[in-house]
C-alpha cells in the first residue's frame, strides 16, 4: 500500500463508485482512468460516453483530449456535439459524471471560470465547457481533487456548475433533473452530501489520513458523518490493473 501515489489512490477509490450497467460521462485524465479501471473490474458493462460525441470507445492508447482520434476508431457510436448533449446528457441517459475545478465549496458548487471578479479577473480559467450541463443533468456528480485549502473553499468565487447552491432546498427550487453532487474523492478521504441539508460530509477516511489532517486542509468546519468509515486499502488487483492502463505514467504521478 505504501507505494500507491495520491493520484492512484483517488482513481481507485473513485472507480469503486461506478456500478455495472451504469453510463458514465468520461473526461480525460483521471476520470478516464477511473472509468476504465471500473470497467476492467466490477463494471464490465459500463457505458462510456465522451463529451465529444463518442460512445463506447475502445482506445488503443491514452487520449490527451476527449476529442482524440483514438476515441473514434472502433467506437460503438459517434454523434454531433449538439446531439451528444441533447440525446445523452439532457436525455437523462447518463448516470455518473466526473467534474473537476479550481474551487469546490461545502454545498458542492464548483468554480472552473474565474478567480476574482468576472469582469476584471485575477485568473481566468477555461470556463464551463460541458461542466454546468453535466452538473444539471446526471444522476451523480463525482469530484476527484487533491485535498488542498485553495481548492476547498466555504463559498466559491463563481458558481460555474451548481451544486446544492446554499442548501438542498434552493437546489430543489431550480428544478434540474440531475441528482446533484454525490461524492468528492480526495487523496485524504471521501466526502458525500447530507441528504437533508446538502452539506458536504466526511464519510470515509483513506488509509493513513486522519480527521485532523482533513480538517486542517478544509477551511470551514467540515461535517463528519457519525458513521465515518475507513476506506479499504487498494488491492493488488486494483493497483496492477490501474498501472497497466497508464503504463507511461502520464496521468498518475
Amino acid at each position: 500500500m505504501t507505494d500507491v501515489s495520491p493520484s492512484e489512490l483517488m482513481v481507485i477509490v473513485a472507480a469503486r463508485e461506478l456500478k455495472d450497467g451504469e453510463s458514465v460521462l468520461v473526461g480525460v485524465g483521471i476520470p478516464n482512468l477511473a472509468a476504465n479501471l471500473a470497467k476492467k473490474l466490477q463494471a464490465p458493462g459500463l457505458n462510456m460516453v465522451y463529451e465529444s460525441g463518442a460512445v463506447g470507445s475502445n482506445p488503443s492508447r491514452m487520449p490527451l483530449s476527449i476529442g482524440d482520434p483514438c476515441l473514434v476508431t472502433g467506437a460503438k457510436s459517434v454523434c454531433s456535439m449538439y446531439e451528444q448533449f441533447a440525446y445523452y446528457l439532457q436525455g437523462g441517459r447518463i448516470d455518473v459524471g466526473f467534474l473537476g475545478g479550481a474551487q469546490i465549496d461545502k454545498y458542492g458548487n464548483i468554480n472552473s471560470t474565474i478567480i476574482g471578479n468576472y469582469k476584471t479577473p485575477k485568473v481566468r480559467l477555461p470556463g464551463s465547457g460541458g461542466a454546468c450541463d453535466i452538473a444539471s443533468n446526471v444522476k451523480k456528480i463525482i469530484v476527484i481533487t487533491p485535498h488542498e485549502k485553495r481548492r476547498f473553499v466555504e463559498k466559491v468565487d463563481f458558481k460555474t456548475s451548481p451544486g446544492f447552491m446554499d442548501g438542498k432546498e434552493s437546489w430543489k427550487k431550480l428544478g434540474l433533473q440531475g441528482g446533484g453532487p454525490y461524492a468528492v474523492v480526495t487523496n485524504l478521504g471521501t466526502m458525500k452530501f447530507d441528504e437533508v441539508t446538502g452539506e458536504m460530509t466526511l464519510v470515509s477516511l483513506h488509509p493513513g489520513a486522519t480527521v485532523e489532517v482533513i480538517k486542517e486542509n478544509t477551511p470551514w468546519d467540515l461535517k463528519i458523518s457519525p458513521k465515518l468509515e475507513n476506506t479499504p486499502p487498494p488491492t493488488e488487483r486494483e493497483i496492477s490493473t490501474l498501472r497497466a492502463l497508464d503504463p507511461d505514467n502520464i496521468y498518475l504521478g
Partner: protein, 305 residues
C-alpha cells in the same frame, strides 16, 4: 455555375471574410481549419468576433495576431494541457489588445448554433439555472414552461457571418462527406450566412452519391470549396492524419510571452505563403508520426430495384 466555387484558401478568405465579421471556424477538437485561421491572420482581418465552443490554439493565435475584438466560447482551455495564454493575456492584461467575451456552456453554445442552423425562434434547455453564467450574459434568458409552469433557460439562435468547415472529402460543388467526431460541422455550415468548405480531397460526385447518409452538408449550403490537404494540422482529420498532441503541449511554452508567440507566428504563419508552404516546413519525421493505421468501414448496400 458550381465550378466557380473551387478556389484557393487565399481567395476564399479574401472574398468571404470581412473586418468586423462574426466567424465560426468549426471543429470540436477534430478538423479545426488552421489553414483558414492562418490565412485570416495573413490578410490582417480585424475586429472579428471569434465564435467557437472550444477556441483552441487557432483562436489563441488569432488573438495574439490582433484579429479579435470579441470571443464567444464555452471552454477556453488547451485540453489536457492548460490555459490558452494569448487569450488570457488579452483578457487579463489587454495584450496585444483587450478582448470582450460572451460565454456559454458547451450545450448552450452548441445549442445556439443548432438553433441558428434550424432557425428555431429560441432554444429551451435543461441547464444554466443556478449557474453564475446567466447574470453575466444577457443573451441567456428564462421563460415559463406553459406545460408545467417551471422556469426554463433559453438561448437565442446564432447565425455567424461566415463559417469555415473542414471535411474529409467533398465534390467540386461542395457536397461533403464527414465522419469521426462531427462536432459542430453541420450546424456551423447551416447556421452561417457564408460558408467556406475546406477538404482533404475533392472526389467525384459518384463517391458522394454512393453514401448519401454520410453527406452532412449538401452543395447548395456552401459558397466556396477549397481543396486544402493537412488544413487541420495540428488538429487532425480522422483517417488522414492524427492530432499533433506534441505540438498542443509545446504551445504552452511557445506562448509564455507575447513576444515568443509572435516569433512563432512570424515563422509559421506570416513566414509562409499558404498551407502547402507550411507543410514543406514540417519535418518528415513529424508527418510520418501522424499517419494513421488503416481502419476501413464495412460497406453498406444502398441498392433499390
Amino acid at each position: 455555375m458550381d465550378s466557380t466555387k473551387l478556389m484557393t484558401m487565399k481567395d476564399a478568405v479574401s472574398k468571404f471574410v470581412k473586418d468586423g465579421d462574426a466567424v465560426y471556424l468549426a471543429g470540436f477538437t477534430h478538423m479545426i481549419p488552421f489553414a483558414a485561421g492562418h490565412e485570416i491572420i495573413r490578410q490582417k482581418r480585424k475586429d472579428l468576433t471569434l465564435c467557437r465552443a472550444t477556441p483552441d490554439i487557432i483562436y489563441d493565435q488569432m488573438i495574439a495576431a490582433g484579429c479579435a475584438k470579441r470571443m464567444m466560447f464555452s471552454y477556453a482551455g488547451n485540453p489536457g494541457v492548460g490555459s490558452l495564454r494569448c487569450f488570457r493575456r488579452a483578457l487579463e492584461k489587454g495584450v496585444p489588445k483587450p478582448i470582450e467575451i460572451e460565454e456559454y456552456t458547451h450545450f448552450g453554445l452548441s445549442g445556439r448554433l443548432f438553433a441558428g442552423a434550424t432557425k428555431m425562434p429560441f432554444l429551451p434547455m435543461r441547464t444554466n439555472l443556478g449557474s453564475d453564467l446567466p447574470p453575466e450574459n444577457p443573451m441567456m434568458k428564462t421563460i415559463k414552461n406553459p406545460y408545467t409552469g417551471e422556469e426554463v433557460s433559453i438561448v437565442p439562435p446564432l447565425n455567424p457571418d461566415v463559417a469555415v468547415v473542414h471535411v474529409q472529402r467533398a465534390d467540386a460543388k461542395g457536397n461533403c462527406h464527414i465522419w469521426g467526431i462531427t462536432g459542430e460541422q453541420k450546424d456551423a455550415a447551416f447556421a452561417a450566412k457564408k460558408v467556406i468548405i475546406s477538404c482533404e480531397e475533392i472526389v467525384d460526385e459518384s463517391v458522394i452519391r454512393s453514401d448519401p447518409n454520410r453527406t452532412l452538408i449538401p452543395d447548395f449550403v456552401s459558397h466556396a470549396v477549397v481543396c486544402e490537404p493537412w488544413c487541420a494540422h495540428p488538429s487532425y482529420t480522422q483517417g488522414y492524419y492524427d492530432r499533433d498532441n506534441e505540438f498542443y503541449m509545446q504551445w504552452d511554452d511557445i506562448t509564455k510571452e507575447h513576444e515568443t508567440t509572435m516569433k512563432y507566428l512570424d515563422e509559421w504563419v506570416y513566414g509562409v505563403e499558404d498551407r502547402a508552404a507550411y507543410m514543406k516546413k514540417l519535418s518528415s519525421e513529424k508527418v510520418l508520426k501522424l499517419l494513421p493505421k488503416a481502419a476501413y468501414s464495412a460497406p453498406v448496400n444502398y441498392g433499390s430495384v
